[in-house]
Every structure is written in structure tokens, then in C-alpha cells.
Symmetry: C2
Subunit: 143 residues, 2 copies
């Protein structure tokens, strides 16, 4: 199990805000040496704490549609099953299992409403899913 201490947390915070920030600048901000920052980042990448660096919000939002889909399962469906179910699905931006009214919440993205509809159809076709509740994203408020 990866252990993440206070320095690692600070690094993650900085990189989340700007993944291109130079190690040397992080070192200055955190009052540590550049090589330490480098080693920590490398260690976190290897252990999977930091899976990679990417563009903050996907530029595809300039075209296409997004939706938040709540998934209600039939009976008890394991996390593994959910993962398999969603793994083969196109357009999944984020998917989490939750404790609440729904069993899982998925954020989908597609080129247009029609394509989005097809993805939701695919989901509904599963015998393990009882119903879904879709909200179309109108606007991005943060991040």
C-alpha cells in the first residue's frame, strides 16, 4: 500500500493546479530540494498514486454533450461486475459506485445527444441494471 505523507500531498496539490510546474519551483514553494521533489513524483508515478498528467478539462466540451447518469441495479451487483459492465462502454469520463439512492454514478460524454442516447440504451440493456436517471449537462461550473 502506498504511503503518502505531507510532502507528497503538497506536491499532488501543486500538480493538480498546474501539472507543468517545474520541480524546481515546487521545491522553492515547499522549501525542499529539487531532487527530493523529483524522486517523490517518480515514486508516486510508479506506485500509481499519480497515474499521469493530462489536460485539466477535456477540450471536447467545445463540441458534444455530457450527461450525469445514475444507475440503479437489480439486486446486489458487485463492484467487479459494475466495473466490467462499464469497462466496455464508450464515452465514460468518470464512474463511481456510491452509497445513497443510486448504486453508481457515471459521467458520460458523446459527440451529440443521439450518441449519448445510444450509450444509455446500451446500459439499460443490461439485465443487472434496473433503471437509470439521466441529467444532461448544460454548463461546466468548475474545473
Amino acid at each position: 500500500m502506498a504511503v503518502v505523507d505531507h510532502v507528497d500531498e503538497s506536491i499532488i496539490e501543486l500538480l493538480t493546479r498546474d501539472a507543468r510546474m517545474p520541480f524546481s519551483e515546487m521545491a522553492r514553494v515547499l522549501g525542499r530540494s529539487t531532487s527530493l521533489i523529483k524522486r517523490r513524483v517518480e515514486a508516486m508515478r510508479e506506485s500509481g498514486v499519480i497515474p499521469g498528467f493530462t489536460i485539466a478539462a477535456d477540450p471536447s466540451r467545445f463540441e458534444g454533450t455530457e450527461a450525469v447518469v445514475e444507475i440503479f441495479c437489480r439486486g446486489n451487483v458487485s463492484t467487479t461486475e459494475l466495473r466490467t459492465l462499464l469497462g466496455g462502454l464508450d464515452g465514460v469520463v468518470t464512474a463511481v459506485s456510491v452509497a445513497g439512492a443510486a448504486d453508481a454514478v457515471v459521467i458520460l460524454r458523446a459527440p451529440n445527444n443521439e450518441a449519448l442516447g445510444e450509450i444509455v440504451e446500451t446500459l439499460r440493456a443490461s439485465s443487472r441494471i434496473e433503471r437509470t436517471r439521466t441529467s444532461i449537462v448544460l454548463d461546466r461550473l468548475a474545473h
Copy 2:
């Protein structure tokens, strides 16, 4: 409106895969000069095509709690108001306004359940928000 040509698209593709890729390397891959790459990236950041660079998937799975919060507003609340409301809030990973049952969906992250509770409390304190519906994230299924 921002115009994105073929070079810009290639840059976005490379940066999506690795936001820390050096400009000089992108220049080699794309057969262009380093200065061109730099200027294009700067232009895209300014125009908002690239909002920023961050860590690919969030590290929260190692510590802390996440929650999906649906927000139901009192009467009509504009996107601008929602943005202001959520702008001052800690732990906001993603926030979108939606067409559906709720008015907005927010994904929150906090060090623990207590801190998460406080953030939701802050939200509820707003006179513009009628009620919220919180689902705690149990597991990350994708991304």
C-alpha cells in the same frame, strides 16, 4: 470562437497523453519548431481551449472521501450565481449545471467524512439552495 487547426489538435492529443511532455519533444514528433509549439500552447491556454494541466486521475483513492452532491435550487438561479456559489467552496472536483431533476451536480473531495460534511453544510447554508442530495463514493469504477 477559438479556431483549432490540425497542429493544435495534434498538440492537444500529445498533451492529453502526457501534459509534461517537453515542447521540444512535441516539436520533434510533429516536425515543427519548438517556438511554434510554445506559442500554440500559450494561445490555446489563453483562449480557454486548454484550461490547464493536471494529474490524470485523482489520487483521492488513497486517502479521503468523495461524494456526489446533487443541488436543488430555490427558484431560478443563474449559471453565474451557481459559479460564484461554488467558486468559494473547498474540495470541488467537478461541478456542472444540469437539465434533469437537480439543478447542478458537484463532485466533492475531502480528507474525511467530517470535512465532507462541513462542505455540504456550507452549501446548504446558502439561501439560494433549497436542498441537496449526497451520495458517498464507495469505489472508483473507471477513470
